[in-house]
């Protein structure tokens, strides 16, 4: 449905996107992950037709939309866009905003369709409100209804949940996925939060300094990252230095870690092993202990930061009935089914991130 091959874009002399290629199937939901400033907004704007590409090609539904010498204007692309700031038109009511997108339809059909979509996002009773009379979440849902009502070939969403609190974020993410799926819509979402990708996307990619580092399922992004940055950006973790002792074993200071590795290394190779919080399991019977340095209550679980006798740090995700005080030593065990392993980086990266 959407295909980008070797797309590059620059603002003046400053390159913003570099050699971006990926493909999104019809009725799939894709997700572009990346920190702010990585170029994800620009990528969406290129696809929508608000920016020109300097190299490469964008093809949607078999039609070439953008290349170095071709640029179909935004108004001819039939691509819906939900802007990060929603961009509701302030002089129109919620209803009129949705109707705005339904250009060229008979008035009665237009009203019916607009109402149908407002209902779908749960804002039937707010149709006559002006944007400034709506909360942030409501505004966002109007923006989504507006973008979806014309049933565009492709829907682009720029940080659709950025202004929402975590709880709403997750529930809306799932609702949104159901809505998109029920309409059979193809959508591409830009976000800095991998939870959005996990809750919504079929495929996802990590964009860093204008380059797409990996395009894959979100499961594989987490467990099989192709790049250190991807590994760091998608989920939390700690890098432990180690040495490969077998095809499925890495020796680190706490002992042997066993599991399938992201890449094959010769025995004896110096590597860094990424330990995710869920790789470090709390076990009172384990001879291996570590001291609780910090704890973060996350509801169903605690995220503990632990210090090993050597001074190295670990993160551990522990069910929240195991409430331990800072300073206490607890038993831990490694459960590393999937091992994210990269060649040793020198100097060793900072121990804790996320």
């Amino acid at each position: 449905m959407l295909m980008l091959s070797h797309v590059a874009c620059a603002y003046g002399a400053e390159p913003v996107l570099n050699d971006v290629s990926f493909e999104l199937e019809r009725a799939h939901i894709g997700c572009i992950l990346g920190p702010s400033g990585c170029g994800k907004t620009t990528l969406l704007r290129c696809i929508a037709g608000f920016e020109r590409v300097t190299r490469g090609e964008i093809v949607a539904a078999g039609v070439s939309l953008s290349s170095a010498d071709r640029h179909v204007p935004a108004e001819q692309r039939r691509i819906g866009m939900v802007f990060q700031d929603y961009a509701l038109l302030p002089h129109l009511t919620a209803m009129k905003n949705v109707e705005f997108g339904l250009r060229g339809m008979p008035s009665a059909d237009r009203k019916a369709r607009a109402m149908q979509f407002l209902e779908q996002v749960g804002l039937k009773d707010f149709a006559r409100r002006f944007p400034h009379e709506l909360s942030g979440g409501q505004q966002q849902r109007v923006a989504i209804a507006r973008a979806m009502a014309p049933r565009p070939d492709l829907l682009l969403m720029d940080e659709p949940f950025s202004n929402l609190d975590a709880g709403l974020r997750q529930s809306l993410g799932q609702e949104m996925r159901e809505l998109l799926k029920s309409l059979g819509a193809t959508a591409l979402i830009a976000t800095h939060d991998h939870h959005d990708a996990f809750s919504m996307a079929d495929d996802a990619g990590v964009l860093h300094h204008g380059r797409l580092l990996q395009w894959d399922t979100s499961y594989r992004l987490y467990h099989r990252p192709a790049d250190r940055f991807v590994a760091d950006f998608v989920g939390k973790g700690v890098w432990m230095p180690g040495r490969v002792s077998a095809a499925d074993t890495v020796e680190i200071e706490t002992g042997s870690a066993t599991g399938s590795m992201t890449a094959s290394f010769p025995v004896g190779a110096e590597v860094d092993l990424l330990l995710r919080p869920d790789d470090v399991v709390h076990d009172d019977d384990s001879p291996l202990t570590a001291e609780v340095v910090q704890k973060l209550f996350k509801g169903s679980e605690f995220l503990y930061e632990l210090r090993l006798p050597s001074g190295a740090r670990l993160l551990s995700s522990v069910p929240s009935h195991h409430n331990h005080a800072v300073g206490e030593s607890i038993g831990i065990r490694l459960e590393t089914a999937h091992m994210v392993v990269f060649p040793r980086l020198d100097p060793h990266p900072s121990p804790i991130r996320g």
């Binding site: 929508a48 819906g80 929603y86 509701l88 705005f100 250009r103």
Partner: protein, 542 residues
């Protein structure tokens, strides 16, 4: 707590409040007086010439004024909106220059631009000469008085719309346009569906300023012999010597002004729209052909409204300098300077006193009074001239009845500076009040409370706290009023003391005699000084 209470209760002592409170009442009364006087004419008996005026002048003035306002509103809207849109939202060669340069025509009084056009297009002028060379005896497409008045006033008044609407477009960003284009609206349709409706409150505000100025204009329409209310009032007084009729005409004109004000309220809409989302300044990159067309359009407007007339005036001034410039000009300049400076000082002082007083005692009565006091800006100068002349003359008569017979002196307040200064005060108080008031609002109340806590109050508080902080705003106020009064025509013309000709009056006298070239020198002086506030304005907005 107790200390704070004590400080608070010690603030406006009753004895002290009466003095400042009186100022607010007085200033409001000054602004309301001409309106009350005009209103009183409705109830008093008409003089002999009124039936004549009512039958022949009133309908013509009404029709002409309505046409003028409609024409100027339409043209300033088109010019102001298009220029503002290009400068705020598009990228084209020269954009940064036009951003401020398009404000320049503001420095041109309508009567100066008008006579430059008149000289260019008159039968013996260069344009018609060239026309005859090219087309022989074919009739020259003449705009006529109505067209000429509309064109001239539109070219000097569009900057009001441009200035305010540009702000709207700039703060909107082009996000709204992107939304529309994403839904398949072509750019032009997107502009009319989204950008323009979003700028409506600003457009209405800018248009109402232009319309007020247009209703108040006297010099331009007089120049083209286009009878509107302002010129009809002038003629009733100076041609037919019927003050009563002048007042009655004023009343109708005030009615028109109030209608315009009410229409503004009606159309401005309730909400001040906040722009949709983030307003990163990104402009539409126009393709080269269109960009060149936009540059050409902006250049053309600037040349017609400013470049060409100023060049003409400069050339004529140089040609006539030796013949024209004599000691008489020093007298004119001195008169102009004294009137403008004196009035600017007085008006700014009143503005400061008014703002500070209302700030100290912000009761709803005081706030309404201060609104009334600044309403005079909407009232045309001709109305103010008549409206003050009549009561002051009446007061003189009364004084003469009681005093004159005994002392042998004849009091004639109306022939002194009283009328002209009162009229200036009413008309330009708002101009000085604006910057002072907004600067005052930026002073946090704790500053004053802190000063009072240290025992500084009353006039010392004003002198040691307010004035130093307000200095830039006071300078702005003085400059704006000074320049406005220097350019001002009807009040000065109608109520100046005998012999007090100013540069503006001189331009008026010379142009009514068709002496275009000789009028260039005083006009040039006015335009040069008039540039000062434009420069100030463009620097503030940068």
């Amino acid at each position: 707590m107790q200390l704070a209470d004590a400080a608070r209760s010690g603030r406006p002592s009753r004895a002290g409040a009466a003095g400042p409170g009186l100022i607010v009442w007085l200033v409001a009364l000054v602004a309301a007086l001409p309106l009350l006087v005009a209103l009183s004419s409705f109830f008093s008996a008409s003089e002999g010439v009124w039936p004549h005026l009512a039958r022949y002048v009133l309908p013509e003035a009404l029709v002409n004024t309505v046409w003028l306002v409609a024409g100027v509103a339409l043209c300033t809207a088109i010019l102001g909106v298009s220029l503002a849109w290009f400068v705020a939202s598009c990228e084209f060669p020269g954009r940064r220059f036009f951003n401020w340069a398009l404000l320049l025509p503001m420095a041109m009084p309508g009567y100066v631009l008008g006579f430059a056009f008149a000289a260019l297009f008159e039968f013996t002028g260069p344009v018609q000469g060239a026309w005859r060379d090219l087309f022989g005896a074919a009739r020259f497409p003449d705009l006529g008085p109505r067209g000429a008045s509309v064109a001239t006033l539109s070219l000097v008044l569009y900057p009001y719309v441009y200035l305010i609407v540009r702000e709207a477009f700039a703060s909107q960003g082009i996000r709204g346009m992107e939304v529309a284009r994403g839904f398949g609206y072509p750019p032009v349709q997107a502009f009319f569906k989204v950008s323009l409706p979003m700028a409506r409150p600003w457009l209405v505000a800018g248009l109402s300023l232009a319309v007020m100025e247009c209703l108040a204009d006297f010099g331009t329409v007089k120049l083209f012999n286009y009878t509107t209310f302002t010129t009809a009032i002038y003629r009733a007084w100076y041609g037919l010597f019927s003050l009563q009729s002048a007042l009655q005409l004023s009343l109708v004109l005030v009615g028109l002004v109030l209608t315009a004000l009410l229409l503004e309220r009606r159309f401005r809409g309730k909400s001040r729209y906040t722009p949709p989302g983030n307003t990163r300044q990104r402009r539409i990159a126009l393709p080269p052909g269109k960009a060149a067309a936009v540059t050409f359009y902006c250049t053309a407007i600037l040349v017609i409204a400013f470049g060409l007339p100023v060049s003409l005036i400069v050339v004529w001034s140089l040609e006539n300098f030796a013949a024209e410039f004599d000691t008489g000009y020093w007298q004119l300049a001195a008169n102009t300077l004294m009137l403008s400076t004196g009035a600017a000082l007085m008006i700014t002082t009143v503005a400061i006193l008014l703002s500070v007083t209302v700030r100290r005692a912000p009761s709803s009565v005081n706030r309404s009074l201060s609104r009334i006091a600044t309403l005079g800006y909407a009232i045309p100068g001709t109305v103010l001239a008549v409206g003050f002349f009549v009561p002051v003359a009446w007061l003189s008569r009364v004084l003469n009845q009681y005093l004159g017979s005994e002392t042998g002196h004849v009091v004639a307040l109306q022939s002194g500076l009283a009328v002209i200064f009162l009229a200036y005060l009413a008309r330009y108080l708002a101009v000085a009040h604006g910057p002072v008031e907004s600067a005052l609002q930026r002073i946090r109340p704790d500053v004053e409370e802190a000063a009072r806590g240290m025992g500084v109050s009353g006039l010392r508080l004003l002198g040691r706290v307010h004035l130093p902080i307000l200095r830039p705003a006071i300078f702005t106020a003085l400059l704006l009023v000074f320049v406005d009064i220097m350019k001002e025509l009807p009040i000065t013309l109608m109520t100046r003391p005998f012999g007090w000709d100013t540069l503006a009056v001189k331009v008026f006298q010379l142009t009514t005699e068709g002496e275009w070239h000789r009028a260039a020198l005083p006009a040039l002086a006015i335009v040069v000084v008039g540039l000062l506030p434009v420069i100030l304005l463009s620097r503030q907005r940068r």
